[in-house]
Symmetry: C2
Subunit: 337 residues, 2 copies
């Protein structure tokens, strides 16, 4: 996700809210569109965290998207484990939104890793789960190393292709350290789908080489790209990663929902580092690795070498005190739900 | 690794050999520089496979590099497990070359995954292990899904840095399918270190934006980059992946060899797909995913959408019949060892 620190400007069109205020607003809105108190709490906890970390359009505005999504109106059943071993679980998401399904899968993975040192947990029959780093941080805070992927329906266009064949397929790794969690979270598409929707909404052109229209012709028109697709990032390497995430999604049961091999799947692989390195050595070494990398000599004019998640967590600390800034229109729309 | 099919030209400076001939040549050369018959067999099996798959400079010429490496002359002890649980192992590589150490780690990972459905195995106190996909294919052929990383000493320069802080740190995923293994293997540096050595050897300039000299100044001089470093690939995403691989290397014990957190570590995470999806569904779905992706509509002039490892395995089949082509000078040097 974006690497640049964001300044939160107060304008006549914005409202600044504390975490508690934003949470109440979000949970009430979700309950009015039919979510239980617990489901609303799970969803809003991530949305507020996304806003705190600087992913503005992954915050409370997403509730409007959830409310407007046709899937929200369809029948939902509780997330449940359909196949299980001591180390693994396969979970049917019951057509719940991914925010809830991936959260439940992370809980099961934590429980199994705590008991056995390792776990592989997958979930399917779901859709959009938001920010992978949110779930991985929960797992890492329990002391575990984790890999988490989310495969999806085709949006991303492989090199040489004219139509999407892969999801935007994020991949995330997380590590505990003596100085707190260190999380690396990346999408394998050249641009997040949400960013393309945002460009379309604002009438902004896409950078060159990112979008394809519905005929497979390269385009900078974001609306055309919404009907077409987005390039995978970084040539064959990004394509290969997107492919691997789609395959790992199959391991999470992606094809069991609708019989489609290109579909949503959430997979967690969790390992207790004390099983590998006894005595907390890993957490200490991770902190040292971060220190060493940050101490690397820099190019002229560069103030700092940042490590993954550092910017997000620094901004989160700041916004916990300063509050988060929402568009007045978004707040009004949420209240009107 | 390279995506382009290679033509093997016979010239007065080349010798064409069968797999059997190349194997005898390689094993004899390694035994003359002090490797046991079994170690020589393990190393040459990979080198011949690399040559068959089209990674020419990862083939038998590597024996000359091994013979010339100062580490080869140093004391070696057999690879051994130093810490173990039913699901995990930490292995001391005994200063053996990575070809042997990662091979032994893969064997242990296969054994544990066969018994328990899942395994995490790491190895340290080693160096250069060659091509990750080779080891992962061995694991996948036993029916398992695998992730494998190899962290290394600093060669790769993070964005904004003037000195290397990360290894070239390859990351590899492998999947069994009804049509055979599907493996994705990538380096996280902008160019493989071996490619930079090759450019230096041939006196070729590097592409722009790849190399840094020992002062951190961007350079296209490959010899200067050997004393400096190589950029991580793909901006912050590639840097983040390289970081994650270095962290996973710590989980493999990387820091236990020399007390350095930026060092060699080989990690395997192995999962039995039947533990997740009973009844061989995963292997069938993987084959279908490959078929679906290959059937994606193409850009004008594009003959084929390839999936990871497809080119390499196609070339391997061809070269098994046609033989591999070696430089006459390399063959003579190997015979003279």
């Amino acid at each position: 996700m974006s690497q640049e620190a964001q300044i939160d400007l107060d304008t006549p069109d914005t409202i600044r809210m504390s975490v508690a205020e934003a949470t109440v607003l979000g949970e009430a809105a979700l309950q009015r569109v039919g979510y239980s108190g617990e489901d609303a709490r799970i969803i809003v906890d991530q949305l507020v965290d996304n806003a705190l970390c600087g992913y503005k359009f992954a915050g409370l505005p997403r509730i409007l998207a959830i409310a407007g999504d046709e899937k929200t109106g369809k029948a939902r059943t509780p997330v449940k484990v359909v196949h299980e071993t001591p180390l693994s679980a396969l979970m049917d998401g019951g057509n719940n939104v991914g925010y809830i399904v991936a959260y439940r899968a992370a809980e099961v993975a934590i429980d199994k890793a705590r008991k056995h040192g390792m776990a592989s947990v997958g979930a399917y029959n779901s859709y959009y789960s938001g920010r992978n780093a949110y779930f991985v941080e929960k797992v890492v805070k329990e002391g575990f190393v984790a890999m988490h992927i989310a495969s999806a329906k085709p949006r991303a266009v492989p090199p040489g292709a004219a139509r999407p064949a892969l999801g935007t397929n994020p991949l995330c790794f997380g590590f505990p350290s003596d100085n707190g969690p260190v999380i690396f979270d990346m999408g394998t598409a050249a641009l997040m789908w949400g960013d393309i929707m945002l460009h379309a909404h604002l009438g902004q052109a896409l950078p060159e080489g990112i979008g394809y229209d519905e005929n497979g012709t390269p385009t900078t028109d974001a609306n055309a790209a919404l009907r077409g697709g987005v390039a995978t990032f970084g040539g064959y390497k990004g394509y290969g990663l997107a492919f691997a995430v789609q395959a790992l999604g199959l391991l999470a049961g992606a094809a069991l929902a609708r019989g489609e091999v290109q579909d949503y799947g959430f997979l967690f692989w969790v390992v207790d580092p004390n099983m590998m390195l006894p005595g907390g050595d890993f957490q200490r070494q991770m902190a040292e690795l971060v220190t060493k990398i940050k101490a690397t000599p820099r190019q002229p004019g560069v103030d700092e070498i940042r490590v993954p998640s550092e910017r997000a967590y620094r901004e989160r600390e700041r916004r916990r005190k300063e509050g988060i800034v929402l568009e007045r229109k978004v707040v009004e729309s949420l209240k009107a739900l």
